[in-house]
Symmetry: C2
Subunit: 382 residues, 2 copies
Amino acid sequence: MIESNIIYNDKKDCQIINFENINFKLVSGLSIQHLKIAFKTFGELNADKTNAILICHALTGDQYVTGKNPITNKDGWWSRMVGPNKPIDTNIFFVISSNVLGGCAGSTGPKERNPKTNKPYGGNFPSITIKDMVKAQTYLIDSLKIKKLFSVIGGSMGAMQALQWSIDYPERIETIIHIAGALKHSTQNIAFNEVGRQAIMNDPLWLNGNYHLENKVPERGLSVARMIGHITYLSEDAMHRKFGRKLQSRDIISFGFDADFQIESYLRYQGRSFVERFDANSYLYLTRAMDYFDHSDSYQKSIEFSYKPNNHIRYLIISFTSDWLFPTNENKTIVETLNYLSKQVSFIEIETDKGHDSFLLDEPELDFVTKGFLENNKVLDK
Amino acid sequence: MIESNIIYNDKKDCQIINFENINFKLVSGLSIQHLKIAFKTFGELNADKTNAILICHALTGDQYVTGKNPITNKDGWWSRMVGPNKPIDTNIFFVISSNVLGGCAGSTGPKERNPKTNKPYGGNFPSITIKDMVKAQTYLIDSLKIKKLFSVIGGSMGAMQALQWSIDYPERIETIIHIAGALKHSTQNIAFNEVGRQAIMNDPLWLNGNYHLENKVPERGLSVARMIGHITYLSEDAMHRKFGRKLQSRDIISFGFDADFQIESYLRYQGRSFVERFDANSYLYLTRAMDYFDHSDSYQKSIEFSYKPNNHIRYLIISFTSDWLFPTNENKTIVETLNYLSKQVSFIEIETDKGHDSFLLDEPELDFVTKGFLENNKVLDK
């Protein structure tokens, strides 16, 4: 077990754990010498340390899962789900949420200082994978002296991390809630990510990733990337229901390129507000990690090496009918694989028109199933 | 009937018809003083002028519908469909194809010279609509002394034009083949167009549309816009079948931002080659015209004013199962409307996994139905 040198409270209302001179080896073969993880915890760890839940965030999430996010001054991204008496009940569970490796909310990532050069990594940050993110999380869990997590929970890129946990560290998890993920990132998803990356890398202020050194930000490229992403998070039906062809503060069309339609204003706003809180390089590195995620090729290997006999994980796989980014059939492939491996797996497809973003939105069925699955499994444990 | 001053052969292997001092009034209220239309014809107009077919191109198409396109040095965009003994048989029909108003292959558009300033219009080009494009086409048809078109045919933005013809000039058409269109541009389609436009307008070389004056081209923005568009033209299944997660000339991933996956190289290539043949401002103006297209609001008006008793058009509406840009249900709305209006309408949904682009690709059912519909209607006419 590797332990940290320091845990300190960060001015950004979270904790930072620091591992120095550790030679953290990445899948790519490169290494990181110093590893910093920004995290938050909610609730109390019980005496036998059996009530810890790790929540893994999606592409643009962070450790501020609930309560006030000091960066945006808004509620945390899963405030409706995590807290006292909420579906992930912090009266019962000790919730840990950390910013992923490669992120931009305090963990080691491209905008952080490279100890070798004393400058931000920028474009020199090494490529990372979901496996690397999860390995970094084990350092944090080790330091918190937790041997076994009661659950690992995540949606989207968070679901990828949960799945990776079950493959690499099955003996360290009781349950997993995997929401709107896949065994592999699909061709279309790679395509959308690639367009977003091209938008960023084509921005003249990107400067090969070294914009921090020149005090520039490739805001326009990042904003376009976010707009593309945002379309894929919604469903056509939800977009139509919410915006239709409604005009923006005008009775008539402008016959120009201002935002005539509400959907245009909405996307522009999404782009603009995103650049205030997110780092363009992190967007590149994290989307790349998602693209590289593929356990469909290593299916046989998974059987032989990963789904070892000591995997007694109880899985809950959740998908949404209108999610076209991580559609039900992709989630079902995981269910099929787990059934084939004779693992304990539950599956629910939730009927909703809210698209991929459903896992972040008001979905009573999601709440109901999550709460029940966690609390009833907790009873089984006793 | 307005007639042209000049029809001349253009060095780009097409004809140009020129209307000077005509005060061509646009839907926006603005006017164009000189109108130039670049067009091509194939086959022979018969003596009673009853065998003329107008083919309307999609967003990035042009007048080079068949034969060699001198700009790209490739076959015309519908070479497989138009020609002697082909589904649109030029042994039987006289085919006319013109570059749309606002386009960039010789017709009046943002890259052409504004006669008032003697400089390219650029960002000062007036906003145009599908209705304006169709009106411009009537000038061409008038000049060719054709009173009634045997058919107006188009896919995607071309389908919008065909539908607009039937609303504005029903007495001038025998038949329409409307492929993969809609009564209105959907919210999601507006959203994708808006992201493409933002990519272009955020390119520092766009210069408020006046890049031509500075001999610049917003290539990067246009290329990203094309990449976004291209994803929407394919289906997830077709993309998966064609590319999957196959790597590009490498056995292993690069752990970087080069094009590791074939889908990435493919999209980058699509972007790169597009900027060689298309004008960024045209992309803005034409996508805007598509966004403004909406006959769902004016449904009642359509009944009262447009679908007049003199509309005896025989309609063929075609959709593709895997088209998510102009899905079957959008096309069916037109069929329903036409049935409600007791018009002669045929409808076919073609089973294919090739997505929206199916209308440009090898689809034997499309050939079969198109050929039969045209030739059997021609017999009916006699």
